[in-house]
């Protein structure tokens, strides 16, 4: 509340799978309408942290979270917060495109409908598809199966689906990892447009992508108990040119491991 520039804040956020601590004591402030990248070696807890942001970890029975995750002055993990509402406000795009086995139109309309959308559905579908830079490609086949789209188109459809419910924050877990370079670039361009209206947090293994597309970068690394933590969080440019931590420098320059 003290600073409205922050979309989301974590205070000593730790995430445990049973007795194992996967992410430990993360405190970071994610700025509104900026793109924040989370980078780090495989298994350091990037996905775990990202899923904690919209309580997708609730579906892992062994998972529990300690610490605070603040959205507009409210801890999203306090008892009186409904996780469904959290996911309504914080949308997510997954690593593998996962459109619904329905028509393209229905993929976007469904989320809107169950959230009680009252406006004109056709308009919403068009707007969302345009925002996801997919409209021109699919406008003539809205009633066709979403599965008939290419992987990159499917991923943009998933982004459109997320935009359609008008969240405040969009989480993306390696959204381009299954895509070719051209589709990847399109998704990156798309992110630049989306950040006019949305806060974006993206996990990526692609250093160039992080360097090109993001405003802030959080570098994660595991400690000797294999618990992941954010070891450095700064403006992307700083992380890639003058990192403070030696491990960050090794990682972003490809000398890690």
């Amino acid at each position: 509340m003290e600073n409205n520039n922050y979309a989301i804040e974590t205070n000593d956020l730790s995430i445990h799978y049973g007795k194992f601590t996967a992410v430990k004591n993360v405190s970071m402030k994610v700025e509104r309408k900026k793109i924040t990248a989370i980078i780090g070696p495989s298994g350091c807890g990037k996905s775990t942290l990202l899923r904690a942001f919209n309580r997708m970890n609730d579906f892992v029975p062994s998972c529990h979270v300690t610490g605070e995750l603040m959205l507009q002055g409210q801890n999203l993990y306090s008892r009186d917060v409904d996780p469904v509402e959290v996911r309504r406000k914080i949308g997510m795009v997954f690593q593998k495109p996962n459109p619904f086995p329905k028509s393209i139109y229905e993929n976007i309309a469904w989320g809107a409908r169950i959230n009680g959308f009252k406006g004109k559905m056709d308009e919403l579908v068009e707007q969302s598809l345009r925002a996801a830079a997919l409209w021109d490609e699919v406008k003539d086949k809205l009633q066709q199966s979403a599965y008939a789209l290419s992987g990159g188109q499917q991923q943009r459809l998933c982004i459109a689906r997320t935009i359609a419910i008008q969240p405040e924050i969009i989480l993306m877990d390696e959204p381009a990892s299954a895509l070719d370079p051209i589709s990847t670039l399109r998704i990156e361009e798309l992110m630049q447009e989306l950040k006019q209206n949305y806060t974006i947090i993206i996990v990526t293994h692609n250093m160039q992508q992080a360097a090109r597309a993001s405003d802030y970068t959080a570098m994660m690394m595991i400690d000797d108990q294999r618990a992941g933590g954010v070891i450095e969080f700064d403006v992307t440019k700083t992380i890639f040119t003058r990192p403070k931590d030696k491990r960050t420098e090794d990682y972003v320059t490809g000398r890690f491991g």
């Binding site: 997708m56 029975p61 309504r88 949308g91 619904f100 086995p101 329905k102 959230n115």
Partner: protein, 412 residues
């Protein structure tokens, strides 16, 4: 690089080892093929055995010569002729009873002819032969029949006829049919579905989508898996104790004003069958639900769906083909079960159609069992025919399962 080269066989050594691998592969392939052939052989033998009994020569005799009733040759009798003959020759008591069941004028020629054979000339089967014998030893059979039953006529017949399907039980094999049994079986299966499908699918949804994974759900799951293997007669005893006895007021219908019935109704038996297939339906439905990819659930949750919306709009529609197929296959088990029906008290001789849940009933497997225990060979022949009817019913059910699956499996 060169340090690695000796680790793997090269040249001739490699070819030799490849040969051994192919030899092992061939042996296994042959073993699998033999297994398949044995299975096919067993199934063919089963089918053949059934069909063999249902067709073949039969030597029969009339207790009274048809000529004593009419000068017209029997195969030229019209409906009008038959009406007159029946009216003149049946005792008035028997005639009125038949009239009460269904006016004779409204019956077909075939039905009247059957009555003529059954009540007046009284056909009497002397011997029957299997299909194989009839086909390959027909000369010997003719000689044998001519010698042993000089007055009898020899005829190749199918015991499986349209009439066999539409006539009720009779104490004479020649006039017995499976109508009552088929209807009973359909009632049974219908009641079992109505009970077990919603309960089973509901339980499966709860277990898969809602129940926490802890020791309690583990115990429940293990029990369900074990229940699926409990011998069916045990379910019969359960049905007898619970539905027939304890809940008699409900299952006999006396709570609803039905007076002439005890608890041994088609309702009790149907519920027993429902309990019998319940574990199978739960397990099958769980498998179908499990097969729905998690990414789909995540997609739904990711756009702010509740658990219920996720299940209702995504998990269930995608699991439906699997659930239906699994359930129908489970239900088809109920169609063939005999033991529990004997325990809950299926009637062994009944010729009234079941007309409601509180009816007495019999079922195809019971009927078949009954007929096979008779000493007369003509009963074995109609038992074989009834088995064919049962098999066709089973096939129809399974075909429905496949059709439903293809219909709902509209892959986007």
């Amino acid at each position: 690089m060169s340090t690695h080269t000796n680790t793997y066989p090269q040249g001739d050594a490699f070819n030799a080892s490849l040969k051994t691998r192919y030899r092992v592969a061939t042996i296994w392939q042959f073993a699998f093929l033999s297994a398949l052939l044995i299975a096919i052989l067993a199934l063919t033998a089963l089918l053949y055995n059934v069909v063999d009994g249902a067709f073949g020569y039969v030597a029969y005799d009339y207790k009274k010569d048809p000529a004593t009733f009419t000068p017209i040759p029997v195969n030229e009798l019209t409906k009008e002729d038959l009406l007159v003959i029946l009216k003149e020759n049946l005792s008035s008591g028997a005639y009125n009873k038949l009239e009460n069941e269904q006016k004779l004028e409204t019956r077909t020629q075939g039905e009247l002819y059957t009555l003529f054979l059954e009540r007046l000339v009284q056909i009497d089967t002397k011997a029957t032969w299997s299909m194989t014998d009839s086909l390959f030893r027909s000369a010997e059979i003719r000689a044998e029949a001519a010698e042993k039953y000089p007055d009898a006529q020899l005829e190749f017949r199918s015991w499986l006829t349209p009439q066999f399907l539409t006539t009720p039980m009779s104490s004479k094999a020649e006039f017995a049919g499976v109508r009552t049994a088929v209807l009973g079986s359909l009632w049974l299966v219908g009641i079992a579905i109505l009970f077990a499908l919603p309960v089973g699918v509901g339980a499966a949804i709860y277990l898969q989508e809602y129940a926490p994974k802890n020791w309690l759900t583990n115990i429940i799951q293990t029990n369900i898996n074990n229940l699926a293997g409990v011998p069916s007669i045990v379910y019969g005893m359960l049905g007898l104790a619970v539905f027939v006895r304890t809940m008699e007021a409900l299952t006999s219908g006396s709570a609803f004003g039905v007076t002439d019935s005890n608890g041994r109704t088609v309702l009790s038996a149907g519920l027993t069958m429902g309990i019998l297939v319940l574990p199978l339906i739960i397990i099958n439905a769980q498998e179908a639900i499990k097969a729905v990819p998690d990414s789909l659930r995540q997609a739904a949750f990711g756009v702010g769906a509740t658990r219920w919306q996720t299940v209702w709009y995504h998990v269930l529609p995608n699991a439906l083909p699997g659930i239906l197929t699994g359930s129908i296959l489970a239900i088809s088990r109920a169609l063939g079960e005999t033991a529990p029906l004997i325990v809950v008290g299926a009637s062994t001789f009944i010729s009234l159609d079941p007309n409601g849940p509180f009816s007495k009933f019999t079922a195809l497997p019971i009927q078949i069992y009954q007929w096979t225990t008779r000493p007369q060979s003509e009963f074995h022949a109609i038992a074989a025919s009834a088995i064919i009817v049962l098999l066709v019913l089973l096939l129809t059910l399974n075909a429905t399962a496949i059709l439903l699956r293809n219909r709902f499996q509209r892959k986007w």
